[in-house]
Amino acid sequence: MKTAEELHRILAEKFGEELFELKQDEPAAPWIIVKAEQIREVSKFLRDEPGLRFDSLMCLSGVHYPKENALGVTYHLFSTSEKHKLTLKVIMPEEDAHLPTVEQIWKTADWHEREAYDMFGIRFDGHPDPRRILCPDDWEGYPLRKDYRVQEFYRGMKVEY
């Protein structure tokens, strides 16, 4: 069982201080901000390192921050053997939102990443099946972005009722 501060220190020692940022925000649990290009190595390290063993990805969520013109992905990790939790965040600019996939590390990420792509337009490099999952394949736009406007017609059918 390790606290977020200890986990942050371990990561900073392993990958270099400047890549990570620990945010502590009440009442929520603290989270660690990871650079987009690093997320895959960090995830693999967190899963395989003895003493950390984050074998379960509880949740992967996309978030749109319209004020900062940014898109984010939040990873909620949990270790079934060590019983500790960790929240990772990746923040990317809205116009160029892409990051490496973690599908090969946790299979849970497969459909969750497809959902994040479908709803926010975040691209996951290296995903084996990068398609929309909930909306039709030829749907336009990304519904959960705050500035989303629904298309007027979909295949000749009026969308707004």
Binding site: P27, M58, R131, D138, L144
Partner: protein, 393 residues
């Protein structure tokens, strides 16, 4: 706005093989669903078949997508999200409400009194039994056993009657609110529930005699769709489907919430009694015995429940959580239901994400159905117990 057009992965079929009698055989792609009685809603499976053997299965979902998350962001009150939460897993609405209420209470640091906690636990466990009865009944129905389905529904009706008396609704309750309950339970709630527990206990044995140890049922489900524990954890499978693989993992015990630490009950795991650990029969029997454990919790909760207490005393007048975020998970009949809620200090939710257990459990389907017969696909889908309202949200 960019126009997104992407196709699914190309399915490559094996080259035609000469069958020896002048005819050729080849793999075939068929669609199972979205209108298919055994897919429990609108699930479409794209199956590649070699004769009757499944060589590849791709689930296609989204036919019931209502964008619950977008709706939540359009609400100007966190309490208005509760009815939408009901409509995700519409056969276990109480558990969905409970998870949402607990997440919001943690975010806002609200303490509810004991009477509220006990009523919530009673409702959640009754709902768990009702949901499992539906799962077991329809699972039998998928395999071809019609009678157990009716027996299960008789008992489920009794639970729905209790819910109806308390909340006025039979399926979508809007009963558990942030900081309390919609209203107190009626005066005869305790006697009704105690009477149900007494009458229901022998019915579990009846269900076992009727279905669980039926030779045909065992032949159809044992050694079918085996899900090994390592695969289950890596895919994030949770709930009875995970426990069927022999992993003793129950959030009520392992990630403490509400007052579940005050009760004594066991975590049921699959043992491979009829075949291999993690087969369809194991997932089925875990649900059967979990109903017994829920009865234990209900009995203890009825004994301990205080008679005094205002169920609405902690409900805030205006729900305005501090800026911040929370991920909170609870155990529903289908597994780990997590809510990821971000608040920007206004009365409108900034982001409400639901990590639905059915969505994650369904994603393991391609991994465990390769090599199965087409008829076994029906058993595997039934044993995972998906609710499409929750898969698509």
């Amino acid at each position: 706005m960019t126009n997104v057009k992407e196709k699914g992965p190309e399915v490559t079929l094996s080259p035609p093989v000469d069958a020896g009698n002048g005819l050729k055989t080849q793999e075939m792609v068929i669609n199972m669903g979205p209108q298919h009685p055994s897919t429990h809603g609108v699930l479409r499976m794209e199956l590649t078949l070699n004769g009757e053997i499944v060589t590849r299965a791709i689930p296609h979902i989204g036919y019931l997508h209502r964008c619950f998350e977008k709706h939540s962001e359009a609400m100007n009150d966190y309490n208005k999200v509760v009815p939408y939460v009901d409509r995700m897993d519409y056969v276990a609405a109480m558990n969905n409400e409970l998870g949402y209420a607990i997440a919001m209470e943690r975010l806002m640091d609200i303490q509810v009194n004991d009477r509220v906690e006990y009523i919530r636990v009673l409702m959640a466990e009754l709902q768990r039994i009702a949901s499992h009865l539906l799962a077991l009944g329809t699972f039998g129905l998928d395999i071809g056993a019609f009678t157990p389905f009716l027996y299960c529904f008789i008992e489920r009706e009794k639970i729905l009657d209790i819910f109806e008396k308390a909340s006025g609704a039979r399926l979508l309750y809007n009963y558990i609110w942030i900081g309390g309950l919609m209203n107190d339970v009626p005066a005869d709630f305790k006697t009704d529930t105690a009477a149900f527990v007494k009458s229901f206990r022998p019915k579990i044995k009846e269900l076992n005699d009727l279905l669980s140890h039926n030779k045909i049922f065992i032949d159809r489900t044992a050694n079918v769709g085996v899900l090994p524990d390592k695969v289950a954890i890596n895919y994030g499978v949770s709930g009875p489907s995970l426990r069927g693989s022999g992993v003793a993992w129950d959030l009520r015990k392992d990630d403490h919430y509400s007052i579940y630490d005050r009760f004594e009950y066991d975590v049921i795991v699959g043992k491979g009694e009829m075949g291999t650990v993690g087969d369809c029969w194991d997932r089925y029997i875990v649900r059967v015995w979990e109903m017994e454990e829920s009865l234990k919790i209900i009995e203890q909760a009825l004994d301990q429940m205080p008679d005094e207490g205002d169920v609405q005393e902690a409900i805030p007048k205006k729900i305005r959580p501090p800026a911040g975020e929370i991920y909170c998970r609870t155990e529903t009949p289908r597994g780990e239901l997590g809510y990821y809620i971000i608040s920007d200090k206004s009365t409108t939710p900034f982001r409400v994400k639901a990590r639905a257990p059915s969505f994650v459990n369904l994603s393991v389907l391609p991994a465990i159905s390769v090599g199965a017969m087409v008829a076994d696909m029906v058993a595997i889908i039934g044993s995972i117990d998906i609710v499409l309202g929750e898969v698509d949200r």
